[in-house]
Amino acid sequence: MSAMLLSLVLLLAGCGAPAALSPAGPQAGQIAGLWAVFFWVSVVVEVAVVAFLLYAVLRARRPVLTLPALAAEPLAERRLTRGVSAATALTAIVVVALLAASILVTRALGALHAPQALTVEIAGHQWWWEVEYWDPVPSQRVRTANEIHVPVGEAVLVKLRASDVIHSLWVPPLHGKKDLIPGHATSLWIKADRPGAFGGQCAEFCGYQHAHMRLLVIAESRGAFDAWLARQRRPAPEPTDAQARRGRDVFLTGPCAICHTIVGTPAAARLGPDLTHLAGRTTLAAGTLPNTPGHLAGWIIDPQRIKPGVHMPSIGLDGADLQALLAYLGSLK
């Protein structure tokens, strides 16, 4: 019956394979392959057990209400014992086979690495991801937030650390999750086989806005990636019109600058995401909102309504200041 339900739900879901089972890289691909093995073994076992159960109950001999005979027929009992033993042996064989498959995949997952690979350092904060592209030359390092660009077809080393509580990085189409634990450096290797934008989310409960701690991995060609990285290395562009200039003043003299960085301006605080190239990102507020002026305005005015408990306070800005600020932030390509 459960099997029927299973197929029913799979039909209902109907919109293709779920994220974890539509891999975009070798790591998730290995795991999805292992899933297929486990899944079909499970389907067979469940169907067999339920079928036998129904058969046993429906086809059993008529009940007696007298005292059951305790002296069982030895022949029949031996057959039952043999049946149970055979089923147990079969279980053991299947379990060992699954175990072997599992260990093979563990080894395959560990096999991905590359010398001099692109290294991305991710720090988990309540409730956003700080991303830094490592470079031996400190001035060449790039800092961004909640959006990771990677070149297609290259193994990328992701180093993880947590600044406050435990988080867990999870981008289902690329790899399983890995925890970010205060005091324990962890890392994982990922590789995207095809270009695309892959959504992910924090998987370890981390407080009020755990639900909205999302991120985006954007896999693109090496050329596009290099161009993006070069753009990120540049400081923020100078505002060109009066409105944007006023916006920059609002940013620098108001509450914004006490938490955020915009490279090329005096704002250098690191409590919140780096906003140097904010306008170039796809989403706002850790993957919660699309990056449009309207959403940005709503977010600035009242972040607590959109993400209650988030560390960004609701600040009172009058309309003109807000428009100027939006103009300035919109110019940070």
Binding site: P182, Y208, P255, P308, P313, I315, G316
Partner: protein, 175 residues
């Protein structure tokens, strides 16, 4: 019966102590008591105190606000001058001596308006709620808050008070 009575009493006790302490007041824009421009709690000279009584810290009994204050205290680099309350470039905050007054509203004024000789004015930089959260934490450092509201130890190196201030209760023998 007796179980009910005892449980009832315990319940009443919890009601009295629990509610305010446990609130998470995320979306408060500004407690009514203090816009910086209406505030002249104390003058700029040390010892010049005339704290009006009606300015009360809205978070005095709120543990979450005290903890937020602690976070902001580190985030806004109050530690840079005041250390973890022991003082350094700025005066210590965990002793009972106050240069500009230890009333909540006076601490608030120190934060939003700044003080001579280096204390910057945070008014306009931080929101009113944040200022009051900082006030709450500063109060907790010198034991002005109830014990169940005060933040517990932090997840970093434990704070050792300086050798001179032998008054800390932390160093007393346990017995």
């Amino acid at each position: 019966m007796r179980a009910a009575a005892v449980l009832g009493l315990l319940g009443a006790l919890l009601v009295l102590t629990g509610c305010q302490r446990e609130q998470r007041r995320f979306s408060e824009v500004a407690p009514a008591s203090g816009r910086p421009d209406r505030l002249r709690a104390s003058g700029f000279n040390p010892g010049d105190r005339q704290a009006p009584a009606e300015f009360r810290n809205p978070y005095e009994r709120n543990a979450w606000a005290a903890a937020e204050g602690k976070r902001l205290y580190a985030a806004f680099n109050c530690i840079g001058c005041h250390a973890n309350g022991g003082g350094g470039i700025g005066p210590p905050l965990m002793d009972p001596a106050w240069i500009y007054g230890g009333e909540p509203v006076e601490i608030y004024a120190s934060i939003v308006e700044g003080r001579p000789n280096g204390m910057p004015a945070f008014g306009g930089r931080i929101t009113d709620s944040q200022a009051w959260q900082l006030v709450t934490y500063v109060q907790s450092m010198s034991g002005l808050l109830r014990k169940d509201v005060r933040p517990s130890r932090s997840d970093h190196m434990s704070v050792r008070p300086s050798e001179q201030s032998g008054t800390s209760e932390r160093r007393k023998p346990p017995q």
